[in-house]
Symmetry: C2
Subunit: 366 residues, 2 copies
């Protein structure tokens, strides 16, 4: 098969005369009503289960087996969006061997399925002007290593000399600097908003939030500290040197989801000389350590309020961090720290975070 395909490029006439190797089944198969059929060939398996990031959080569905050992299941209709899933084949996590779409991560990967529709229009690939995603390597003073980051520049960036406002956008635990674009589609969300006249062009810098080796407990405990130093000492100077970024604090924002929301609170609130807007997606506090660690800041809410043009906190009511987010909101309210509290539907999932970014971006720099 591989041989046939390689030579095919050179010898179309020869190979077109041969019967084409046709897959007799595909996976995933997305139906027009949003149901999805998943299939995997595993004749020797005793049980196969589908696990996916469907609405309401991760769910599991058992597959059925036909006489040839092909396992299959069709889901109920799923709202249009971009989801991850994998199979458990006799308990072993298995990506869909027929599907090239991925959700990558810092520890392992999953397969992904794209269900198009109006519900997913905010991150659809549309025939509009598109920006560029850049992959960069930079030297981190905090870790002493080369680290990677992704940068989004908007359509038209190359054509002028203008400087752009910038959002530093942080991922959650288990992801890397890659997933806000490769799976979160942050670049398409921005392209679509700009095309629709709802967002002025901006630059987004997406960093890697795991400077500490997560397998090293002593380093892991320092992750937030290392991340903050890396961001301020290395990432921001690197980005501002290499890209035409407006370096005024009024034009610099910080936001993140889950762990990245925690890093936004930790790095952002201590660096109000650098940031004029913060976004906390699906994160909160579960004890009084936030108040303990931010005593001085919380004692002078007027200082925070005068510096932050936007302090946006959103969480889904089905999120396992919902109560922690409510506690964050109530703590800030009690202390007189102005913020936008945005409770929503949804759980701790990427469809929620794509919608948060779509809602948050137009609130910045307007």
């Amino acid at each position: 098969m591989k041989r046939a395909i390689c030579l095919f490029a050179l010898l179309p006439a020869l190979l077109a005369a041969q019967p084409a190797a046709q897959p007799t089944w595909t996976s995933p198969e997305v139906h027009s009503d949003g149901r999805v059929t998943l299939r995997i060939l595993a004749p020797k398996a005793a049980a196969v289960v589908l696990r996916g990031e469907w609405p309401g959080g991760a769910k599991e569905l058992p597959l059925n087996k036909d006489g040839e050992g092909l396992w299959f299941v069709t889901t109920a209709p799923i709202p249009a969006d971009f989801y991850w899933y994998h199979f458990l084949v006799d308990g072993v996590k298995t990506m869909d061997p027929r599907n090239p779409l991925l959700k990558t991560g810092a520890r392992s990967s999953d397969s992904a399925v794209d269900i198009p529709g109006p519900n997913a229009a905010h991150h659809a690939l549309r025939n509009v002007p598109h920006g560029t995603v850049h992959i960069e390597l930079y030297k981190s003073a905090a870790t002493g290593t080369l680290r990677r980051l992704h940068v989004y520049t908007p359509p038209g960036y190359e054509e002028g000399r203008a400087r752009y406002p910038v959002l530093y956008l942080l991922h959650g635990s288990g992801d890397t600097d890659r997933e806000w674009t490769s799976y979160g589609r942050a670049h398409l969300i921005a392209d679509n908003l700009i095309a629709d006249g709802k967002l002025k062009p901006l630059v987004m810098v997406m960093t890697d939030g795991h400077p500490a080796d997560p397998n090293n407990p002593s380093l892991r405990a320092r992750n937030t500290e290392l991340f903050t130093r890396d961001l301020i000492d290395s990432v921001i100077p690197f980005a501002e040197k290499k890209y035409r970024i407006d370096a005024r604090r009024e034009r610099r924002a910080l936001a993140g989801l889950s762990m990245g929301g925690g890093q936004t609170l930790a790095a952002g609130l201590k660096s109000l000389d650098l940031f004029s807007a913060l976004g906390v997606f699906s994160m909160g506090i579960r004890d009084d350590s936030f108040e303990t660690q931010n005593q001085e800041l919380l004692a002078n809410p007027g200082n925070v309020n005068s510096r932050l043009r936007l302090f946006w906190i959103a969480c889904g009511k089905d999120d396992f961090l919902w109560e922690a987010a409510v506690r964050l909101h109530e703590t800030l309210e009690k202390r007189g720290v102005q913020h936008t509290w945005r409770p929503t539907e949804g759980a701790h999932t990427w469809p929620v975070w794509r919608r948060y970014l779509h809602e948050f971006l137009p609130l910045l720099f307007q």
Copy 2:
């Protein structure tokens, strides 16, 4: 676990007091002598096999099972390089669930293992100035769709106004525009050569060589034609508009591996007004259709010879296309078409293609 890690960012003191969840095993484990131990937990499986792109081509190794259902195998020493592998768990292709390193592709993905050492120094991540990898979307006139491509710009690109020579670099069947960087490490190969003074800075444009849906036989037969139109009508104009590329043919080259080598022959030899250098990695011809399709060109070898400053053809002696590559070389020689014939060790694998790129790049534009 997920919950603990998310909150961890905010509450280091709380969680540092808890016992860290330590994996009791890792996979892959690379030993200092180049042996690699692979492990996967599959208590219910009857047989697990490792399949990988080791030197000499794909090989399979059976794993052994311990009392807990953990399967394991240690390979013989493998030369330092970057390889793909996966498990067959009772015949089901399974990526390593403990390993975030990937080789992606157009149809499915594999796990990847990085074995560092002098043999892999040409694509190692070194503390030298690094260029940038850009991900672009462009409108293809040939397909009528938005397509993706990757662009490498060298260190210092942003700082000046210079225009750079350009290599259009093509992947093989089953890959996409992403793999020359994500797995082939073309950007690191160029960065290292530039840092060592062996290569003048250049731009590399890596396109997607599958414009036709490979599952559609009638379209698939037109892939080379669609690719050539896409390259010439859309990719080159897009790249030259968006990047500071020297648009003279003396400064424009085309090269590719396997299917991309066939596309280089098909598109390049018919467009000598556009390209002054061609590279064909691990590709050849198996019948007389090449001569039939290029009658006019082969009848006037002086025209080819005066236009091509470099026509570089390389193949490994263990490659399944070795005899086809020899036939290409001998056909060109017989017809008086000047070229560099570079027979090497190796098979139809990425370690060979990384070495070809490392050898080929300094021959361009000097």
